[in-house]
Amino acid sequence: MDRSRVASVELQDSNPVAAATDTSTWLHHGLKKRRATFTTRKPVSVWIGTWNVGGAIPSAPLDHWVLGRSLAHRSKSKRPPLSVSTSLSASGASPGSDDSPDTTNLHDAGLTSPLVANGPPRLELAHLLDGSESVTSFESLLSSASSLDFSVATSDDLRRDSLASTVSTVSSVTAAKPPLPPRPPAPPAEILAFGFQEVDVSTDVYFAHDPATILDLKAKIIDGLGPHLEKQYALVSIKQLAGMIVAVLAHESVVPYITEVESGYVGCGIMGVLGNKGAVAIRFKVFDTRICLVNSHLAADQNQAERRDSDFHEICRRLVFKREDGSSCQTNDLPLLFLSRTMVFWFGDLNYRLESTYNDVLAGIKASRVPHLLQRDQLGHSIRTGRAFAGFQEAPITFHPTYKFDPGTNRYDTSEKQRTPAWCDRILWRHPTLNVTPVKYRSHMRYGDSDHKPVSAILTVETEVIDQDKYALAVKEVLREHDKWENEFIPEASVSEQLIDLGEVKVLKPVVRTVELRNTGKIPVSWFFASARPTPTEDDADQWMWTEPSKGYLEPGERQSITIRILVSPVAARNLNHAGSALNDILILRLEHGRDFFISVEGRWLKTCLAQSLQSLCDTGGAVRVDAEPQNGTSSEEPRHSVPQELQVLSKFILAHAMDVPARELWGNNGEEAGDEAMLETVLDSLDTGAPLDEARLAGTAGARSVARVMLLMFEYLEVPVIPDQDQEMFVASAEGSPMLEAVAHLPVVHRATLLHLLELCESLIDKQGPDTLAVLAEVFGPLVMRVPLPSGLATSGSISSVAGLNTATPMTSPSKEMKRYRTKIQARQLAFARLVQTLQNS
């Protein structure tokens, strides 16, 4: 046997299209649907033989079993087959039509072709039968029948060929031509599978194989093929479990297409695990179809049909395969029969019996009532009722029971036990889509070594061949289709506006816009506003835009109105004042697992005097929105004003119109009144554009309060407080009088002038409204000119609420240590402010 070729079989692993299985389920599904587009079917002929050899390697040559004939060289020189006539008389049974290959052929043919069954060849058949085998006729029969080149499309063709040759053979015999010189035998099939049972029945074999057994058996098989054919076959694999041996050979024409050779075994005999019963199996791929060959020996005895059923299931459940290199296989993940694409051949001494009596069966055999006897077949019953071997098929049985014979004879059991003859030895197959066509199914009565007769089948098996190019195309198609689904079900939506023009935007003046989001896709959409900033903080003090809601969920077709609120706090204004006149941002509205929408929000920022620095306000000279004309060449060091013009305007108004409004009412936080916001805007507009305050509009307490509020805002949001942080402690520590004056002198010129301006205003108010006013003014202005940062955690979002409500120093939370410290600081500043006012009053 060609060893190197065997090796090449085992190593070959180049088939690139295992792809059809085991991958993403959708891909698998799509390829399954398209399978016909990239596969073609190729018939492969398979010979399967099963033989319970009854305890020893058979002495008789295997040629007749495998080739359906005796090799010429041997039949002449060696032992003749059991004489048919002998067997007749010995058993008292009809010889059956089993032993002659032509008979089998005719039987076979007869099943499909009544013409042959009734035609003249039948007459000749009798002639052939009553003599010993005619080597010549078998030879020519076989050489033409099996010179069928292996690409024959169907077994019908096959049968026709063999029929034709039968006819010609017959006529040649009747013409009594001299025998032709023996021609070399043709290969019986591309794949040969041998299943032996009870090769060795010693108990030792449960624990250790005698390696000689396999060697002997291999030699026997090779010998059976004869010198001509043995060169054409390579051993794919041979496996043993106790007395069971399975061997697979492949013809050189298919060897290159055999890949992924694996084998496995299950023992389910004594104690449920020993190998006196069980199965040995070999599987491999031929072209692109996986073929699994299971040789099994199931539980014996007439009454053990249920046990045989359960042995079958046990083997299915426990059979796992290993590569020849020892690695395990992916397809082990499923029980054998769940592998829907695997072509399973199951054969062996399945041991199913006939539900009948010894005498009845013998009578049936004598009368050649095979179909009648088969009605009592336990295996047929198990298959029909689904108890075991569900879905398996078998070729029609036309031979007599193969069990149990008196060894060395064709006589059914004459011992005391008188076991009822049965078809114990069977060959079955199963595949959901690919066809298997039986060409022959027969017993070989000439073999007398055992109490079983060997059985063989020749089957034409459809296998699939995958066209690589078409396969690639199918993969592409499946991917494309899947992409189509996937993209179709990506969240999709539309927004009503992607450019929101806010127009002119002023400090503290709210703008509200809405955008509509509509789910235009086919699946629900989760959406949210994403931030382009790497670490967005919710409480950014300079935030000026809010979305409401900021996330949501829409079913297909649903709409959602999203409110976009713009409110520029003085803190936010500070950045905008620096940035120039453009106010813009891009909102990123993200659909989860889908697209992003950019919503550009643009406005023209109108500068404000709030949140400026005293220095810059003084430098500007005029109103902040009025572009100061560059003073030609006179970029003087001195600011144009030492007190911001805006403050001057405000205090002038208060001195002129608000002296009668009680200080607490004027500066205090008494809740909002209608019109306050509008009036506030009027005041700010006047200051920022340099227009005079609209005295008529601001008449009355409400107007005065608005003016006062703007003044407080100016102080609160100055970029640097009137008394800068580093100087505050000095003021807090200074006593009234000269220490305070010294501290004041320490301030930068603009700050000093502004402070004095405020103090003068206070002085005027106290003069007008009485000394009690001092406490109110100190309470309000102390923490403004000397700002104390709020305790951490109390910083209000965007300062909006504190600004809008002038809620400067009255946190509502229960006092904590931090809060107490904060209050102490506030009080110290209020007292310091009072001392400042008094110092001024006294100087």
């Binding site: 690139p16 690695s327 082990n332 499923l334 992409d483 996937e486 993209n487």
Partner: protein
Amino acid sequence: MSAPQPPAAGTPVQVKLVLLGQAAVGKSSLVLRFVRNEFQENREPTIGAAFLTQKCKVDDKIVKFEIWDTAGQERFHSLAPMYYRNALAAIVVYDVTSAQSFDKAKSWVKELQLQGSPNVVIALAGNKIDIIKSEGEGAREVPADEAQAYANEAGLLFFETSAKDGTGVEAIFNDIAKKIPFEQILAKANAPRQGVNLHEAQPTPPQNCAC
């Protein structure tokens, strides 16, 4: 014997791909041609970033492109890093009839090479080649050899494409897929089960055996 676990269904190797380039060079059209094999004249500009997926088979793997088609308008430039960050592949598109768009493409390439993923595979696509076919070389402002020389120098894949007639579109995605350093990705991800393995004959980790 414990029953072996069935294998988890393989997942394709996910590759984030971003399209960059000046406005109106045809980024969205290239994607539309690739994904749906369609073309629309006078598309609305992309305001945002469109998201689509498309799979390719490369050798024994399936690559799933997660395509981010970005807005080309300059005012959205600052948002681009959101999209090219973590992108394993980028197609920088220019219009062969616009030298200006080629300059812009070069600046995108530079930005990507400075700030993109270290191993980002960049392809340069000179789009609208159909105009040259119909109107002649006179319409061209970016000579192919100049772009090719630039691509060689900068280590880019280069294609002239037409989203309108389909020229080069599939090739560009396929070639990108082939250039993706899968081994690195998979090693980095430390996830042994990424990527569909089209060969079932691959060795698998040992499983419990029957004996």
